[in-house]
């Protein structure tokens, strides 16, 4: 394949990464923004989404489409409820103190991860995608002076991957509508702006926190359900999404959901592109140093509005 088509492939794969990352990160941004807490267990909610998706599809048996749909509806809700439970039993008790929350969520990370290890086991298990047609992608050829489309061998994407990208866009739009156009969204944004004032106005801040935490975890789980037919479900798969979501949220800027989405695009695409052309390890080194330096010189992130 020539450079052009290769680049396009990299972009499409990057778009997929960015889509899933944007979903996961927006969940974290929500929690971070509304509650001002660092949820180190966020990656484990992602992992639970994938593992539970496998479990649900196993239960459903039969058609992958049915199983997948069931998983898509049920799993995020389950994970969200678990998260809300964690919030109400643990986080509320420690009054969302920043340091204690970090410690408690690190503990929760290990608990969730290891319980999964004990029940689901250490193997990676695949989930069948509901549909998976290969779609060849065209590229432009100008070798004989005229513009002509041709289909380079190897340049293709699956219909499922396109679906994931589309679904992510839909969900993010839904989240944006929720935050900007519904009463719940208004309450969450009010609490995010000024917790004391929200309390003074009679807003049930504790309940908002539980909802926000649950919603954030649900977003991560949803992202995982979408990606699990492509990746496999494994008890350690939460680590990378955690790291990447944090990077995205911080770079995009605290308090900025669109910033997080843009950062996800930036990182997803560049990770995809750099990995294809350079060694993945080197790409990761550059990525991590890039994040560090952005934070060092622009502590509010690239689009941040809130306090770092």
């Amino acid at each position: 394949m020539d450079f052009g088509p290769y680049l396009m492939l990299a972009i499409m794969e990057g778009a997929l990464t960015a889509a899933v990352l944007a979903l996961t990160a927006s969940g974290l941004a929500l929690v971070f923004g509304v509650m001002r807490v660092v949820n180190v267990a966020h990656g484990e909610f992602f992992m639970l989404g994938a593992v539970l998706a496998w479990w649900v599809t196993q239960l459903a048996g039969g058609s992958p489409v049915l199983g997948f749909l069931l998983a898509l509806c049920v799993v995020p809700v389950l994970v969200g409820m678990l998260a809300a439970f964690v919030d109400m039993t643990i986080l509320k008790r420690i009054n969302y103190d920043p340091e204690r929350t970090i410690v408690a969520t690190i503990g929760t990370l290990y608990i969730l991860q290891q319980v999964t290890l004990m029940t689901y086991g250490p193997e990676a298990r695949p989930v069948a995608p509901p549909f998976n047609a290969r779609i060849a992608l065209p590229w432009i050829d100008m070798s004989d002076g005229t513009l002509r489309l041709y289909w380079p061998w190897g340049l293709s994407i699956t219909s499922y991957k396109l679906f994931v990208i589309g679904a992510a866009c839909v969900v993010l739009l839904g989240l944006w509508s929720l935050m900007t156009k519904t009463k719940l969204g208004l309450l969450m944004r009010a609490t995010e702006q000024d917790r004391e004032m929200a309390l003074a106005f009679g807003i049930p801040v504790q309940r908002i926190y539980a909802i926000a935490f649950g919603l954030g975890a649900g977003m991560a789980a949803l992202a995982a359900v979408l990606i699990v037919p492509i990746q496999q479900a494994h008890y350690l798969m939460g680590g990378d999404p955690l790291l990447l979501s944090f990077i995205v949220v911080i770079i995009g800027g605290l308090g900025s959901l669109p910033g997080a989405i843009l950062a996800a695009l930036l990182i997803g695409l560049s990770d995809g592109i750099i990995s294809i052309f350079f060694s993945p390890t080197l790409a990761k080194i550059f990525a991590t140093l890039f994040v560090a330096f952005v934070l060092v010189f622009r502590p509010k992130g690239l689009w941040g509005t809130g306090k770092p």
Binding site: V38, I90, R93, I94, D97, P98, E99, R100, T101, I102, V103, A104, I106, G107, T108, L109, Y110, I111, L112, Q113, Q114, V115, L117, M118, P122, G239, L243, F246, I247, I250, S279, T281, L282, K284, I285, T288, L289, V291, A292, F293, L295, V296, F297, P299, P308
Partner: protein
């Protein structure tokens, strides 16, 4: 009635004496364990300086430990230097790295600081993997017994290993104790308690933090270098995120902001995990439960609770 200060010194001296005497009636299996515990506890003491005393949550201290580990390990395996030189190289590597990272990371605070330290540590881990040709990556490499001889004494020998680990621990503990009791240390505590007030009393807070990061990183690197020399194994896992979380866990469990807390936390965690590994592969579950318990019920850790309830004079 002994003065508070004397009680403090005696208590810590007593611990050191106990540790020294321990080697004479510990069974062989535990000798190696205790040596490992003392080296890692020194790492934790280094971490405690920045976390427990200055109030900065670093999530990337593994890079300093690894700098010492690889600095001394590579010095021997690639360049054939002697143990003494290797040790110096390891510590210097950690010292320089902590100065660089400190200078950059201190431009941020709070969560951003956490992420920046984490990122630098990740970059370090990935760099170790990238240069796998020399570092052998995750698999790591081994230092031969013959290369680990200091002044005619083989460091892999049980007794000398215990004694070396003990010496390292002594140095770390005494340094830490002296520091926190000094004027410098009191400013660190003030910074932890109320940074703005400390700045407005005329203290250059950034400078204090910077010096502490260097000290903390150097002690961590010393522990890393010692680990390579005593146990003869150098591997990338020591540079991973896990090894940045461990000192946090040990310090929190044992009591952040107490000198002896890191050792207590380390011993506790080590044997807790040792025992649970015998029962299940999911032994980190214990770590998770302990952390949650600590966060909710005992945020001050074991020695922290002891200090606030009983021994108020403890440093």
């Amino acid at each position: 009635m002994m003065s508070d200060s004397k009680k403090d010194c005696f208590a810590h001296g007593g611990v050191l004496l106990f540790l020294f005497a321990l080697q004479f009636f510990l069974p062989a299996y535990h000798h190696g364990n205790m040596a490992r515990i003392m080296v890692l506890a020194s790492y934790a003491i280094g971490y405690n300086l920045i976390f427990g005393y200055t109030g900065l949550l670093s999530l990337g201290h593994a890079i300093f430990f690894a700098a010492g580990l690889y600095g001394s390990g590579l010095a021997i395996s690639q360049f054939g230097f002697s143990v003494g030189v290797a040790l110096v190289i390891g510590v210097t590597a950690g010292c320089v790295l902590s100065a660089v990272i400190g200078a950059l990371a201190l431009r941020t605070e709070g969560v951003a600081f956490m992420i920046v330290t984490l990122m630098f540590a990740q970059a370090g881990y990935l760099t170790v993997l990238y240069f796998g040709e020399y570092t052998r990556g995750d698999e790591g490499f081994v230092l031969a017994h013959a290369d680990r001889v200091l002044w005619g004494v083989s460091l892999s020998d049980q007794t000398s290993r215990y004694f070396s680990a003990f010496s390292l621990f002594c140095v770390s503990l005494i340094m830490c104790l002296a520091l926190v009791r000094s004027r410098f240390g009191k400013v660190l505590i003030a910074i932890r308690e109320n940074e703005e007030r400390t700045q407005m009393l005329g203290y250059n807070v950034v400078w204090y933090k910077f010096c502490t990061i260097i000290l903390s990183g150097s002690i961590s690197a010393l522990a890393g270098a010692t680990y390579a020399l005593l146990f003869g194994y150098v591997g990338a896992s020591f540079a991973s995120v896990e090894y940045s979380i461990y000192p946090l866990l040990w310090v929190l469990l044992g009591g952040a902001g107490t000198v002896i807390g890191p050792l207590v936390g380390m011993i506790f965690m080590f044997y807790l995990i040792d025992l649970s590994s015998g029962v299940t592969t999911a032994y980190m579950l214990v770590a998770g439960l302990v952390l949650v318990f600590l966060a909710v019920f005992a945020p001050q850790g074991v020695m922290g609770e002891v200090r606030s309830r009983m021994w108020k004079w403890l440093s």
